[in-house]
C-alpha cells in the first residue's frame, strides 16, 4: 500500500517500459500469425519455452551465448513451420475454434514432453549481466538488452514486410486470402514461411528471456495469457496495436506489483483488459470489419 510518487515509483515505471519491449516482441509473432493465417496459436508461449530449453542446453553444451541464441531461433522457427504443417494445415478449413483447440492439444503435449525430458526443476543459464544504476534506481542490463533487441526485432520485421518481395506477398495474403491465389501466389508456402517467421520471433524472445527468467516446463502458463491479452487488446492481427497494448499492460504489472503484491498487478491488468474489450470489442486499435 506504500505507493508514493518517489524514485522507486519511477523505477517501477521504467522497468515496466523495459518489460513492455519483451512482451511486445512476444505479441508480435502471434499477431503476425493471426493476421496472415487467421489462427491463434494457444501454445505460442510453449514454443518460447522450447526455445529457452534449446538455448539452455546449447549454451551448457559449450556454445557461446550468441550461437546458442541463434540455435534457439532456428529451432523455434522450425517448430513453428512443423506446427503449421502437421497440426494447423489439416484443420484450416474447419471452424476457427478448432484451430485454437488443436494448438491447445499441442500446449499439453509440449508442456508434458518438456517435463519428461528436462524435469520440473528450474534451470538457469547463470549469465549475470549486472545492472545499471542511475540515481538510486537500478535496471538490470538483461532487461535493457531485451528491450533494445525486441525493438530491433520489431523494426526488422517491419522492414521485411515493407521492403521485400516475400514480405509484400505476406501482407497481401493478410488482406485478402482468396484473391491472392488468383495472382499466382502459393498461399500454402506463404503460410509455412509466416509460421516459421512467427516461430523465429518466439525464438528471439526466448533468447532474451533466458537472461532474465528461470526455465521450467510451466513457464508458458505464466506468459501465455499475458501475450493473448496484449494481442486482443491491441486488436488481433494489428501489430502496432499490440505494441501499444504491451506498454499499457506492462505498466499495470510493473506499477501494480511495486505498490501491492505481484498478483494484484496482474489481476488488475486482466480486469482492465476485460473492461477495455467491452468498451472497444475490436481492440484498442482494431478496425471494425
Amino acid at each position: 500500500m506504500d505507493c508514493q510518487l518517489d524514485i522507486f515509483f519511477l523505477e517501477a515505471l521504467l522497468n515496466g517500459v523495459l518489460l513492455a519491449g519483451l512482451l511486445a516482441l512476444l505479441a508480435l509473432g502471434l499477431n503476425l500469425i493471426f493476421g496472415v493465417i487467421d489462427v491463434v496459436w494457444i501454445c505460442y508461449a510453449e514454443l518460447v519455452m522450447v526455445g529457452m530449453y534449446g538455448i539452455n542446453y546449447a549454451y551448457k553444451g559449450g556454445a557461446p551465448f550468441l550461437l546458442a541464441a541463434l540455435f534457439g531461433i532456428v529451432l523455434v522457427a522450425l517448430a513453428g513451420a512443423i506446427l503449421h504443417y502437421l497440426v494447423i494445415r489439416p484443420v484450416l478449413d474447419t471452424p476457427p475454434i478448432n484451430q485454437l483447440l488443436v494448438t491447445g492439444g499441442v500446449l499439453f503435449l509440449l508442456q508434458a514432453a518438456a517435463t519428461m525430458a528436462f524435469g520440473i526443476e528450474f534451470k538457469n543459464l547463470g549469465i549475470r549481466l549486472g545492472s545499471l544504476n542511475v540515481a538510486d534506481m537500478s535496471f538490470s542490463w538483461a532487461r535493457i538488452w531485451a528491450f533494445a533487441i525486441a525493438l530491433a526485432g520489431a523494426l526488422g520485421l517491419w522492414l521485411f514486410l515493407k521492403k521485400t518481395y516475400l514480405g509484400t506477398a505476406i501482407r497481401a495474403i493478410a488482406q485478402d486470402r482468396d484473391i491472392i491465389a488468383l495472382m499466382g501466389v502459393d498461399s500454402r508456402r506463404l503460410y509455412l514461411v509466416t509460421s516459421a517467421i512467427g516461430g523465429g520471433l518466439a525464438g528471439l524472445a526466448a533468447a532474451l528471456m533466458v537472461l532474465q527468467y528461470d526455465i521450467y516446463p510451466q513457464i508458458g502458463l505464466q506468459f501465455g495469457p499475458l501475450i493473448f491479452m496484449i494481442c486482443v487488446l491491441g486488436g488481433l492481427g494489428n501489430m502496432i496495436g499490440g505494441f501499444v497494448a504491451a506498454f499499457i499492460i506492462s505498466q499495470f504489472i510493473a506499477v501494480g506489483s511495486s505498490c501491492f503484491h505481484t498478483e494484484w498487478g496482474y489481476a488488475v491488468a486482466f480486469l482492465f483488459f476485460m473492461v477495455a474489450i467491452f468498451i472497444r470489442p475490436q481492440g484498442l486499435f482494431g478496425t471494425k470489419s
Binding site: 483447440l101 488443436v102 519428461m116 525430458a117 474489450i277
Partner: protein
C-alpha cells in the same frame, strides 16, 4: 417419440451405474475404496463437463469455466472456515456468485457479439483474473498452496456436508449430481432455447431476424452452465477436502474441461461423461502400468508423471483433426450409419444417446 423408445434403455443404464458400488464390492473387496474414489472423481468431473458442454455445443467455447468451479469451491469453503456458514448456505452463495460473474462478463460479450477467438481469449482472461485473486487473497485462501475445509467431527457430517470417508455415500451423492446434470442437458436439448441457440450459433443475424433474442438466449445458457460448474466445483471441494488455485480453478482446469469434453463428444448427452471416463482412466491406468513395471519405471524415471499429459495432448490433436465429434459422437455416427437401412428416419434407442442431438432430429 425417441425419448419413449429410449426410456427402457435409459432406466437400465441408470440402474447399472447405480449398482456399480455393489459390483465393486463383490469384485474388488480389497481395493474397494480406491475404485470408488476413481468413480466418484469421474462422476463429479462428468457433471462439470456436462455443464460446460451446454455452452460449448452452441459454439460458445469458454475458457472461463475454471473461474466458475473456483468461485463455487472457494466461496463454499471460505464461508465455512471463516464465517462458520455450512455448505448448505455456502454452496448456494457460491453458485449465485459464479452465476453473477458469468452474467456480468457474458452480457457485454453477447451484446457486443464477441465470439470465436475473442470470446475464448476473453474468458481465458477471466479465469486468470479469478486465479490471481485467489492467490492474492492468501491470508484466507492459503495462496498457491491451497487450503482445506475445516473437518467437522470425524469427517462425516450432514451439517457440514462432509462425506469423504464414507465412499459409498460419496458415490451416491456424486451419482445423484451426475444424473441431475444429465437431466439438465436433456431438458435443454428438448427446449425451444436449444433451437434458438443452434440457429444463433450458425448465423446470429439470421437468428435475430426471425425474432430470437440472441443475447438473452446466450445469457440464459451461460448462467445455467456457470451455475452447474460452480456447484460441481463446490461438491468437488467437499469431497476432496482440499482446494488449490490450480486443482479447482485456473487455466489448467479450464483447458482440462474443454479438452475432455471434446475428446468425449460435444454434441451427445453422454459425451462429457465419456470424456471424464477416458481422461481419468488414461491417467490412472498409465500410473498403474508404470508403477507395476520396473522396466517402465527405470525407463521413464520421474518423468512418468507427465506421460499421461503428453499422450493426452497428442490424442487431442488427433481427435480434433480426425475425430472432431469425439469418441462417443463418432461412435453414435457409426451406429446410426449401420442401423439406418433397417429403420430409416428413426433415432437410435440406447442409453448412450437417449437424448442425442442426432436422435433428436430423427
Amino acid at each position: 417419440m425417441t425419448s419413449l423408445r429410449a426410456a427402457p434403455a435409459a432406466i437400465l443404464g441408470i440402474a447399472a451405474v447405480a449398482a456399480i458400488p455393489l459390483m465393486v464390492h463383490v469384485a474388488f473387496p480389497a481395493s474397494e475404496k480406491y475404485y470408488l474414489h476413481l468413480l466418484i472423481q469421474i462422476l463429479l468431473w462428468s457433471f462439470i463437463y456436462t455443464g460446460w458442454s451446454l455452452m460449448g455445443r452452441f459454439g460458445l467455447t469458454s475458457f472461463g469455466h475454471g473461474a466458475f468451479t473456483g468461485i463455487g469451491a472457494y466461496v463454499t469453503v471460505l464461508l465455512w472456515n471463516f464465517a462458520g456458514l455450512p455448505p448448505w448456505i455456502g454452496i448456494p452463495v457460491g453458485v449465485v456468485a459464479a452465476t453473477m460473474v458469468a452474467v456480468v462478463v457474458g452480457y457485454p460479450c453477447f451484446r457486443l457479439r464477441i465470439t470465436g477467438h475473442y470470446f475464448a481469449l476473453l474468458t481465458l482472461a477471466l479465469t486468470e483474473f479469478v486465479r490471481l485473486c485467489i492467490v492474492g487473497l492468501r491470508d484466507y485462501t492459503g495462496g498457491s498452496l491451497g487450503t482445506q475445509p475445516k473437518r467437522y467431527g470425524d469427517g462425516v457430517s450432514l451439517l457440514a456436508l462432509q462425506f469423504e470417508p464414507e465412499r459409498v455415500l460419496a458415490y451416491y451423492i456424486a451419482f445423484a449430481l451426475w444424473l441431475f446434470g444429465l437431466y439438465i442437458w436433456w431438458r435443454v436439448d428438448r427446449s425451444m432455447d436449444r433451437y434458438a441457440l443452434d440457429a444463433a450459433s450458425q448465423d446470429e443475424d439470421a437468428a435475430a431476424s426471425v425474432g430470437i433474442d440472441v443475447t438473452r438466449e446466450k445469457l440464459k445458457i451461460t448462467a445455467l452452465s456457470s451455475a452447474m460448474c460452480a456447484l460441481g466445483g463446490a461438491m468437488f471441494a467437499q469431497y476432496q477436502m482440499y482446494i488449490g488455485p490450480d486443482t479447482i480453478a485456473g487455466l489448467a482446469v479450464s483447458l482440462n474441461i474443454v479438452f475432455a469434453v471434446i475428446a468425449g463428444g460435444l454434441y451427445v448427452m453422454l459425451g462429457p461423461t465419456v470424456g471424464a471416463v477416458f481422461t481419468q482412466l488414461l491417467a490412472e491406468s498409465l500410473r498403474v502400468a508404470i508403477q507395476g513395471s520396473a522396466t517402465l519405471r527405470d525407463l521413464l524415471g520421474s518423468s512418468a508423471l507427465a506421460l499421461d499429459q503428453a499422450i493426452y495432448g497428442l490424442l487431442l490433436v488427433l481427435f480434433i483433426i480426425y475425430m472432431p465429434k469425439g469418441i462417443l459422437g463418432t461412435a453414435v455416427d457409426w451406429w446410426q450409419r449401420l442401423s439406418r437401412p433397417r429403420q430409416p428416419g428413426i433415432g437410435v434407442a440406447g442409453a448412450a444417446n437417449a437424448g442425442a442431438v442426432k436422435a433428436g432430429k430423427g
